[in-house]
């Protein structure tokens, strides 16, 4: 099992705001240093969460990244330094660099989303929005529950149909495969709708619709979480106010010089990683005594 991740246990609000910010910044900012920092931070955190999963993820991303970075210059001939000409179109150095940056920001978006999926599971999401949108978050919880249930029922139906010689194999024609799938789906619909009546009754029997609902899992932020949130917002404000994240690629590459703003941005990105390191140091101190 993966090690405990302290950031994952923080209040979902903190996690949600963090991911919202880093993903949005990641898609907008095109300063190479910022993009690189984003890639490193997202890859690092992804590695901490998933261990060796990072490697498979990178291997899967690589061809896509290459495609993104090479395709862009093909469609964008602007730029001073022409590297080569393909069918009369200029393939420029500036445009290639821009392609790399785009690929980088694409990569970090995917990686941040990968972390998001591990950290903000369905129940955290609904507990976060349970008070704001009670009906929708309950709806989401129910869909998640029913998807599991219906996958199980679908499997039962497919097996049952094989058992009476109505199954399907690779040898069957496409038409047969299609009709088989449709019958199974129609059977599943009947079963699912039948089951939903019971679910509805069970909700009514337990008082759904009596009045305003409360939320079991919503909780207030702890002091530590407040501090983390404030620090995070402070860093964000610094990054935005100090600026220095502009970059131009055409006709020539021109980037803002790096300054305090970049440091603040790095600090912002590093919040979950720093928390993780802090935690493990604290444990060592606790365990071996001072």
């Amino acid at each position: 099992m993966a090690k405990r991740d302290p950031f994952s246990e923080y209040h979902p609000l903190v996690c949600f705001l963090f991911f919202l910010t880093v993903i949005l910044m990641g898609t907008v900012v095109r300063h190479p240093a910022y993009v690189l920092a984003g890639c490193v931070a997202s890859g690092w955190y992804y590695g901490l969460l998933k261990g060796r999963g990072l490697l498979t993820m990178l291997l899967r991303l690589l061809p896509l990244l290459l495609l993104v970075s090479l395709l862009n210059p093909l469609f964008n001939p602007r730029g001073e330094h022409v590297l080569l000409r393909i069918f009369g179109r200029a393939f420029t150095w500036e445009s290639l660099c821009f392609g790399f940056v785009t690929a980088g920001s694409f990569a970090q978006t995917i990686l941040w989303f990968g972390c998001y999926n591990t950290v903000l599971t369905g129940d955290k999401f609904t507990s976060l929005f349970g008070n704001l949108i009670p009906a929708l978050s309950l709806l989401l919880v129910m869909v998640l529950r029913m998807m599991g249930e219906q996958t199980r029922k679908l499997k039962q139906i497919l097996h049952a149909r094989s058992g009476i010689g109505k199954g399907i194999t690779e040898q069957n024609s496409r038409r047969e495969k299609l009709l088989h799938g449709m019958t199974a789906l129609s059977a599943l619909t009947d079963r699912a709708l039948e089951g939903s009546i019971v679910t509805g009754n069970s909700m009514k029997a337990r008082g759904y619709g009596c009045g305003r609902r409360t939320n079991f899992h919503s909780r207030r932020l702890r002091v530590g979480e407040w501090l983390c949130l404030l620090l995070f917002l402070f860093l964000l404000a610094l990054t935005l106010c100090l600026g220095g994240m502009e970059a131009e690629f055409e006709p020539v590459i021109r980037t803002d010089p790096l300054g305090l703003g970049f440091l603040a941005y790095c600090g912002l990105l590093g919040v979950p990683i720093v928390l993780r390191i802090k935690e493990s140091i604290l444990w060592h101190i606790l365990k071996y005594g001072i």
């Binding site: 998640l144 599991g148 249930e149 097996h159 049952a160 058992g163 009476i164 919503s218």
Partner: protein, 553 residues
């Protein structure tokens, strides 16, 4: 003042002539444990639902239902929701949310309970029901028994005064069912919650109930203590008598009158009282006619199976031989892989090692069309998974046989009157028989049944067994996986025990159950101190009478 007071309750479904409930009068005191029994369609469920207005079926209702002296329909929604807890039959579909903790909290959330109170109550419930260990799990990872326990706990979290249970254990295996019923008893005993329960597996609940109410065709047939009702059912030759606990059935069958024994312990002391001098002249029941063929319909040698490359083996070196034309029953605990064994037998799950022969020909040599047309077929655990059409008739026609063929099959399975109905409008027993008919239309020579008696009431079981007998006489070989020890003992020709991926001992039922001490029928547990190998009610009755005659004369 009675806790619940039902006065002259009459209810008619829309579009029906005869009412489903006719002038019901019933009073239930606080803290009572009341068992409501009757055949499917006797109006049990309609009656229970009238105690929970939000679940009340549409239709015309007359009469009154009072809770603590107040008309139920006048009580506000919140009080109704929390005061009357209702647990239904299906463990899966009752669950609303995807996490165990959320499900426990659902009712309290709906009532708008303040968070502090809610947390305390949920913690209380989780501890009382022993749910702490799986509090954070996904609901889909739970077993059927755990799911039903969760349903009970999430109703109890609302602290109801009355707990209503509508056939809560019919989808569970016997061990999970016993666990569940013990929890219900504990709630009744510890918390004083009034319990109103319907069941068709009466062996467990019947002795515990304070009162038994029997319904028939929408009317109350009997209402009294378990012993009184037992006697009444016997005297009136009601079909329901066959659902009573084994000791009571033996007691009346041998002609005794008066206070009948209800539990195995009582049954045993009654028997030893009757036969003080031992050993008895006759200890073993007359042998059954053995008619096992020497030809094997099914043969397994060293069969292994697992789902994934890295997952544990489900079947480990299974050896099995089933003679032609016999009913072979496989018993064993839950999750041991019995259903997987059936799927492996017919190639739905592919064994990775070992030999499987059907009718003398290796499984691998069959094309899938040959295999499932005229050779083998599988009736799944849940008959609903076979239904895909709008009427029973269309279901049967889907099997592309001639009209005479499916009509004959409908007659054999006793569903010829139901062909115009929607399969989902039928009762559990009828659905089971429609599924059986559909499966039999492939004209199999080997029939595989997965838990065929699950959720069937006593009368349906007898009909079902009759059909199976008829099929066996026609030369069909039946392999059945079941938890239902009583059913296997009564109707099986051979019984095998499945445990830990292997098939242990195979023997004929008397031999098999006669040697077990836990995993055996109530008749055997009750009579083992006097008789050997008496595993059914009729075995015990027969031995009792023979010995009485010999000793008496």
């Amino acid at each position: 003042m009675a806790h619940i007071e039902i006065r002259n309750l009459t209810f008619t479904y829309p579009g029906k002539e005869t009412p489903s409930l006719q002038g019901i009068d019933l009073c239930i005191e606080a803290g009572e444990f009341v068992l409501l029994c009757g055949h499917s369609g006797s109006g049990k469920t309609s009656l229970l639902r009238h105690l929970k207005p939000v679940l009340c079926p549409h239709g015309k209702t007359e009469g009154s239902v009072r809770l603590n002296g107040r008309e139920l329909s006048e009580i506000d929604g919140r009080t109704q929701a929390s005061a009357v807890g209702f647990v239904m039959q299906d463990p899966d579909d009752q669950i609303v949310t995807d996490k165990v903790w959320h499900e426990l909290a659902f009712g309290l959330e709906s009532l708008g309970t303040e968070q502090k109170t809610m947390r305390l109550r949920v913690a209380e419930m989780a501890s009382y029901f022993g749910i702490q260990g799986w509090f954070h799990r996904n609901v889909s990872e739970l077993s059927g028994g755990q799911k039903q326990l969760l349903n009970l706990a999430s109703v109890m979290a609302m602290q109801p005064e009355i707990l209503i249970l509508d056939e809560p254990t019919s989808q569970l295996d016997p061990i999970a069912a016993a666990d569940f019923l013990n929890t219900v008893k504990k709630i009744n005993r510890d918390l004083g919650t009034t319990v109103l329960i319907t069941e068709h597996r009466l062996e467990e609940v019947y002795p515990y109930a304070d009162r038994v109410v029997v319904m028939e065709k929408g009317k109350l047939l009997a209402n009294g203590s378990p012993r009184q009702v037992g006697q009444l059912l016997y005297e009136r030759h009601e079909e329901l008598f066959s659902a009573l606990p084994t000791p009571a059935r033996v007691f009346y069958a041998v002609g005794e009158r008066g206070q009948c024994p209800l539990t195995v312990r009582e049954g045993r002391s009654w028997l030893t009282e009757r036969f003080p001098q031992q050993p008895l002249p006759h200890r073993e029941p007359k042998p059954r006619e053995s008619k096992l063929s020497s030809e094997m319909a099914l043969r397994l040698r060293d069969v292994w199976f697992r789902y994934e490359k890295d997952s544990p083996d489900i079947l480990r070196q299974v050896e099995l031989e089933v003679p032609q034309g016999c009913l072979y029953a496989i018993v064993g605990g839950n999750g041991t892989g019995k259903s997987t064994l059936l799927k492996t037998l017919c190639g739905i799950c592919k064994a990775y090692r070992g030999k499987i022969e059907l009718l003398g020909k290796p499984l691998k040599k069959y094309s899938s069309r040959e295999l499932f047309r005229g050779c083998v077929t599988l009736l799944p655990q849940d008959p609903k998974s076979l239904f895909a059409k709008k009427t029973v008739r269309e279901e049967l026609e889907e099997m592309d046989g001639a009209p005479e063929q499916w009509q004959a099959m409908a007659k054999l399975c006793r569903i010829d009157g139901l062909t115009q109905q929607h399969p989902y409008d039928l009762s559990g027993g009828e659905q089971q028989r429609v599924a059986l008919a559909k499966v039999l239309l492939t004209e199999p020579r080997i029939l595989l049944l997965d838990e065929p008696t699950k959720g069937l009431d006593g009368a349906f079981k007898i009909t079902f067994a009759g059909i199976l007998r008829e099929l066996c006489q026609k030369g069909l070989t039946i392999v059945m996986v079941s938890h239902d020890v009583e059913f296997c003992a009564e109707y099986g020709d051979l019984v095998g025990m499945f445990f830990d991926g292997q098939l242990l001992t195979t023997a004929e039922p008397r031999q098999f159950f006669g040697h077990n001490s836990f995993y055996t029928t109530a008749a055997n547990r009750m009579s083992r101190c006097l008789f050997d190998k008496a595993v059914t009610v009729s075995d015990v009755t027969e031995l009792y009478e023979r010995n009485r005659k010999e000793l008496g004369s």
